[in-house]
């Protein structure tokens, strides 16, 4: 496997604001990189730099070894020559062309003969399960079907690099769920190298071989999904990935102090002086009777139940600690709000993160 896409210190400035700041990352051939982050984090700008719609102000962009963009060397390969394909957020199917014409456009531009073209169009439409729709017009299709055509249009040219800009965000939740898995399958099957922009971490986990979390124009963390979930590198990433409890802590003589009375022994060199510690919700048990500390490697915090809610596969309770911090965990039964409760979690489930 070789490196296909390489960004080195990419930088983009709009007026006075730095939108991309020193972004360095690599994508292996045939893999899918997901750019994840809240709106305004620079993920779409990064995609636009990769596509060539924007020129970088600093750093270098290489694709398959070829220099695509470098402000210092004055290189900016135009979009047309990058051999890309892209799926847009608003799909942007040409309304005056039929499904087949839309899908065949890129092939036509590349000068493919009509016969081969027809064959290729059929193959790709079969791939996205739209075989029976080749002569329909885009406005006669449902949102999900239009999405499939947009993906087929991009895959038809067998691009070396496929860019996807929040392609599922225009669809409703259920359809998004179905298409997400299908798209993941398609990407793997076609072996295309892909860069996928989204703000939805479920999508990121389902599709990405690597996930790059962006924050304020900087790369906050680049890791495979499992690693990102298990050990986020900062409180921001943990908060953005979701389903974690975050409690402030400070370090004192080799101990991390939580809520001023719980001390966990830590290796001083690995843990910052202060920050937030993270405990996954599923690691926290919420009980309505005070438990005995069974072993010394468990933490027990007392609080007041604020609410419980039923989430289908489990029941979740939210409690308030005396310090005012909130904690969520799994509970077995219904607990009335206002009742005293206790949260229990193992010490080794706690991660200490810098802010």
């Amino acid at each position: 496997m070789s490196v296909y896409l390489q960004c080195q210190g990419l930088r983009k400035v709009f007026g006075a604001s730095v939108v991309l700041d020193d972004i360095s990352l690599e994508v292996q051939e045939g893999q899918c990189l997901v750019l994840l982050g809240p709106s305004g984090c620079g993920k779409t700008t990064l995609l636009n730099v990769i596509s060539g719609m924007l020129a970088a102000d600093g750093g270098e962009l290489r694709c398959n070894g070829r220099l695509m963009d470098s402000a210092a060397k004055g290189v900016h390969v135009p979009i047309q020559e990058r051999g890309l394909a892209m799926v847009f957020q608003d799909l942007s199917l040409w309304p005056h062309m039929s499904v087949a014409e839309n899908v065949g456009f890129g092939l036509r531009i590349r000068g493919m003969k009509a016969n081969d073209r027809r064959h290729r169009i059929d193959t790709v439409l079969e791939q996205v399960e739209m075989g029976g729709f080749r002569d329909r017009m885009p406005n006669e299709l449902s949102g999900g079907q239009q999405q499939r055509v947009a993906i087929a249009r991009a895959l038809a040219v067998q691009p070396s690099l496929l860019l996807l800009d929040e392609p599922l965000s225009a669809l409703d939740a259920r359809l998004r769920e179905d298409l997400k898995l299908e798209l993941a399958g398609l990407l793997r099957e076609s072996g295309v190298t892909a860069v996928y922009v989204t703000h939805d971490q479920q999508e990121a986990f389902a599709l990405g071989d690597q996930v790059a979390v962006l924050h304020g124009g900087r790369l906050a963390q680049l890791a495979p999904p499992e690693k990102l979930y298990d050990s986020p590198c900062s409180a921001f990433v943990a908060r953005f990935i979701g389903s974690s409890n975050l409690l402030p802590f400070r370090q004192l003589d080799g101990y991390a102090l939580i809520e001023d009375h719980i001390a966990i022994r830590v290796l001083a060199a690995d843990v910052p002086m202060e920050g937030h510690c993270m405990v996954r919700r599923e690691a926290v048990g919420v009980l309505d009777k005070q438990p005995f500390a069974e072993t010394s490697d468990q933490v027990i915090l007392a609080g007041v139940c604020e609410q419980t809610h039923f989430l289908g596969e489990r029941k979740e309770a939210q409690l308030r600690l005396p310090s005012g911090e909130r904690l969520r965990g799994v509970t077995a039964g219904h607990i009335p709000s206002g009742a005293p409760v206790w949260a229990r979690f193992p010490k080794n489930a706690v991660r200490f993160l810098a802010d």
């Binding site: 979009i79 847009f88 040409w94 062309m97 860019l163």
Partner: protein
């Protein structure tokens, strides 16, 4: 059961009322015109001589040739307008041409100029012994070319290319740039993008504006009457006019030619629809368009194009108009001495010209107000109801847009001159007011229609839920929402009424003038300076009203 019936009727009453009103105002005259064209003596109560007039049209080769010329001329005007207008639209919508505001203004001036005034001005520029002869060296070859098919075509195109330019601009500037980006990413060059994406998506706008220009050219009376007669170019509207106004009157032939003109207009509309369907534009969600950076050379070329069109569509004719109105006389060589005496004569108390101006102002204000009030209400009723009656209403309301003005005017003559009409409004000024309202209510309707369509019915439901009645809902919720659209409609209607020529010429009682007929008649009778002074005054008044509204609209 009766209560239920009454309730149903109560709900349908506004719709019925509107339909009845439109049927009487528009449907009845047009229907009568068709009937009269088939049965020449129907007004006398006889069905004798059916299709006589049509037979005469078929048997007279000159009439057939004239219809052919009319169609060819309208087609040529459309083509030339496309050639003039499409580059302007592209430059405005898709490039970073500097000074777009001025460019856009330069397009609005010829749109605002009545075609007959443009034609009259060009006669001044081009005719022997006129303005051009004295100030500009005009070779005889150019003069001969001007007073021919193509010269007349270019004048009409100069009056109408602005529609094409603005329509193309509107479409191109809302075409989302993503649609082009999608093609660029797949490797399409600028050329391929224009050919495969931009052009096909602009075709509907090009066809629509082309149809507008075609219909206007086919049914325009001013340019054929002024230039067609001087260029030996017989055109249908001028012919109909002479059949109705010159002795011996030939109503049968006039109405059958009118019916044919209508038919041609409808066929053009239908043809455009088929063409548009065949070329399938597709629905586009508007977005922001991409701007193409222009090199210095292209900026010069672009401004050269727009500036050249401005020179010929506005500067030259307006100079001719104003200079003529100020000139003492055009007898000798060189620049004539200037004088204001034509304007003084124009405003002399009790003069015909001052009366004409007053009549025009009064009629235009009244017509614009009526159009806006009735049109706004009809649009509201039509959009907020459903069922077959609504389609009838929509159809009736859009009739005057397709049917040439001269045909509506001839129909109105028949309708209100018929023996069964008890009121004697024919041959009074009220007839003209009626004609203005019938002809121009479509504009008000369209303005209001699009606004009502954009207004959520829930705004009204919210008021109804709180206990407001139908009247309160209309006056307190709907009208305030419609106000900007209605103001724009009032303004447009006022301006077009101020310069309305064909209905005025046909329907005014003897001895009464409006500005347009005054200009037209004085020009034809040789008092060119007086005609041009009146033209100048009319245009100045329209401009003042327009600018006044613009200023008031800004808070």
């Amino acid at each position: 059961m009766i209560a239920a019936l009454r309730r149903g009727l109560g709900r349908r009453l506004p719709l019925l009322l509107c339909a009845a009103l439109l049927a009487l105002a528009t449907g009845y005259p047009v229907l009568l015109l068709f009937l009269q064209s088939i049965f020449p003596d129907i007004l006398g109560g006889s069905l004798a001589g059916a299709f006589d007039a049509y037979r005469r049209i078929i048997e007279t080769p000159e009439l057939g040739a004239m219809i052919g010329t009319s169609l060819g001329w309208a087609g040529a005007v459309t083509l030339v307008s496309w050639v003039f207008g499409i580059p302007c639209g592209y430059l405005l919508a898709r490039t970073n041409l500097p000074g777009k505001l001025w460019a856009r203004m330069s397009l609005l001036i010829p749109i605002m100029t009545p075609p007959y005034i443009l034609a009259l001005s060009y006669v001044l520029v081009m005719q022997q012994g006129g303005f051009g002869d004295v100030l500009l060296p005009i070779p005889n070859g150019l003069r001969a070319w001007f007073f021919s098919f193509w010269g007349v075509t270019v004048v009409m195109a100069l009056a109408s290319f602005g529609y094409v330019a603005l329509a193309v601009e509107a479409t191109l500037s809302t075409l989302p740039r993503r649609l082009e980006d999608a093609a660029t990413v797949l490797g399409a060059s600028w050329r391929a993008r224009v050919r495969h994406v931009l052009l096909p998506l602009t075709v509907p706008a090009i066809l629509n504006s082309g149809l507008l220009v075609f219909l206007e050219a086919l049914s325009n009376f001013g340019v054929p009457a002024v230039l067609g007669t001087r260029s030996n170019l017989p055109l249908l509207p001028a012919e109909i006019f002479y059949l109705v106004t010159s002795w011996p009157l030939d109503l049968a032939l006039a109405t059958s030619l009118s019916s044919l003109l209508c038919l041609l207009a409808l066929m053009a509309l239908y043809g455009k629809r088929c063409l548009a369907q065949w070329m399938a534009g597709g629905h586009i969600r508007p977005g922001t368009a991409a701007l193409q950076p222009l090199s210095r050379r292209w900026i010069w070329l672009g401004w050269g194009w727009i500036g050249g069109l401005f020179l010929f569509s506005s500067v030259l004719p307006y100079c001719a108009m104003v200079l003529t109105s100020l000139a003492e006389s055009w007898g000798g060589d060189g620049f004539p001495p200037l004088t204001l005496k034509h304007y003084v004569a124009l405003f002399e108390p009790g003069s015909r010209s001052l009366w004409a101006l007053a009549t025009s102002l009064g009629l235009s204000v009244a017509a614009a107000t009526l159009c806006v009030v009735i049109g706004g209400y009809i649009a509201y009723v039509s959009v907020r109801s459903s069922g077959p009656l609504r389609h009838v209403l929509d159809g009736l309301a859009t009739l005057p847009r397709v049917i040439p003005k001269i045909v509506v005017a001839v129909g109105l003559i028949l309708a209100w001159n018929a023996p069964w009409i008890p009121l004697n409004i024919y041959n009074t000024v009220w007839m003209l007011l009626l004609a203005y309202v019938v002809i121009y209510i479509t504009d008000a309707l369209n303005y209001a229609n699009s606004t009502v369509r954009g207004m959520s019915p829930n705004l009204e439901h919210a008021a109804t839920v709180l206990g407001a009645g139908r009247y309160t809902v209309f006056t307190r919720i709907v009208l305030p929402g419609l106000r900007p659209a209605l103001m724009a409609a009032w303004l447009t209607t006022f301006i077009v009424c101020m310069r309305e020529l064909v209905a005025s010429v046909l329907l005014l009682p003897p001895g009464v003038d409006v500005t347009a007929t005054y200009i037209f008649n004085q020009f034809e009778q040789g008092d060119i300076a007086a005609a041009m002074a009146m033209a100048t005054v009319t245009i100045v008044i329209s401009t003042i009203v327009l600018v006044g509204f613009q200023f008031r609209r800004r808070p």
